[in-house]
C-alpha cells in the first residue's frame, strides 16, 4: 500500500483577500525552531549555527531565506525554507550538550500569512492594537502580539508588507477577520 502524505494547512485565502489594496498569501511548509539561549552563550551559539541572533527584543534579522527574531530576553524564533534547513534542528540539538540552551521544533505549529499592499498596515490594525507607523514599528521588527482574540507573531518585512503567524487552529479566525474587513471596505484616504 502506498500513501500520499500531502501537507494540509486546513485553511485557504478567500477570494476577497486575493486582490485589492492588500493581498494575503499563505506561507507554505517552513522550518520553525524555538531557540532559547542563555545570554552569555548567545554569540557563540549564533556563530556555531551560522545564524544572526539579534540581542534586542523585537528585532529580526533576515539572511538569505532565513529569518531569526529575538522575541524575549533569551528567546529566538528561526523560520526558514524546509528543504534548505531541514538539518538545522539537529545541529542546534547537538550544540545543546555544549551550551546552556534549548531548541524545540515548532515547524507545524503556525500558519503564516503574508500581507502585501498599501493597506497592509490597516489590515494588521483590524485586530492588532500596536502603532504601526514606521517610527514605532520599523521594517524588520518582529514581535508576538495579538489579533483580537488570537495571539500572533507579527513581522514587518517592508513598508507595505507584513507576515502574520498564528497557531494553526486560530488561522480561520485570523483570516476571517481580515476577509470581513476586506469585504467591508478600506479606509477612504
Amino acid at each position: 500500500m502506498s500513501y500520499d502524505m500531502k501537507i494540509d494547512l486546513g485553511v485557504e485565502i478567500p477570494e476577497v483577500l486575493q486582490s485589492g489594496p492588500v493581498t494575503a498569501e499563505l506561507l507554505g511548509e517552513k522550518v520553525r525552531l524555538s531557540l532559547r539561549v542563555k545570554s552569555a552563550d548567545r554569540t557563540v551559539v549564533a556563530k556555531a549555527l551560522g545564524l544572526t541572533l539579534p540581542a534586542k527584543i523585537g528585532v529580526a534579522s533576515t539572511k538569505a531565506d532565513l529569518m531569526t527574531a529575538c522575541l524575549g530576553p533569551d528567546e529566538w524564533i528561526v523560520i526558514g525554507e524546509t528543504d534548505k534547513h531541514a538539518g538545522l534542528y539537529e545541529k542546534a540539538h547537538k550544540l545543546s550538550t555544549k551550551y546552556v540552551m534549548s531548541v524545540t521544533d515548532v515547524s507545524y505549529r503556525n500558519i503564516g500569512v503574508v500581507l502585501t499592499g498599501q493597506a497592509a498596515a490597516e489590515m494588521v490594525n483590524v485586530g492588532c492594537p500596536l502603532d504601526l507607523c514606521l517610527e514605532a514599528f520599523p521594517v524588520g521588527k518582529c514581535t508576538r502580539t495579538v489579533y483580537e482574540a488570537s495571539p500572533i507573531l507579527l513581522h514587518r518585512t517592508g513598508e507595505d508588507s507584513f507576515v502574520m503567524e498564528c497557531w494553526r487552529s486560530f488561522a480561520p479566525y485570523m483570516i476571517g477577520l481580515m476577509a470581513a474587513h476586506a469585504r467591508g471596505g478600506f479606509r477612504s484616504n
Binding site: G58, P73, E75, P151
Partner: protein, 104 residues
Amino acid sequence: MFLIHCPYCDEKRPETEFAHAGEAHIVRPNAAEQSEMTDAQWSEFMFIRDNKRGDSCERWWHVNGCNMFFNAVRNTVTDKFVKTYKMGAKRPSNAQIQKWKEGV
C-alpha cells in the same frame, strides 16, 4: 485599555498583550523554610493579601509579547501605573515610589 511599559521590551504596549498576575514580592519559602513554618504561617503566605488602596506592587505577565513576568507599582485608586521593573528587583520603598511619581 492601558498602555503598559514592559521593562524587558522597554516599550509601552497595549494592555491586551498582558495578563495581571496578582500581588508582587510574595516569596515562596524554600523546602527547609516550609517544613519549619506553622500551619498559621503557611496560611498567611498562601491566602492573605494586602489588597492595598493606593500604590500597590503587582505582577504582570507580558504573555503576548516577550513572555516575561515583571513587577509594577500601580495606584489602585487612580489606576495609573507608576513604574514597572524587572523580576528580581527589590520592592521599592515608599520614598522611591514618591520619587518615581515626581518624575525624579
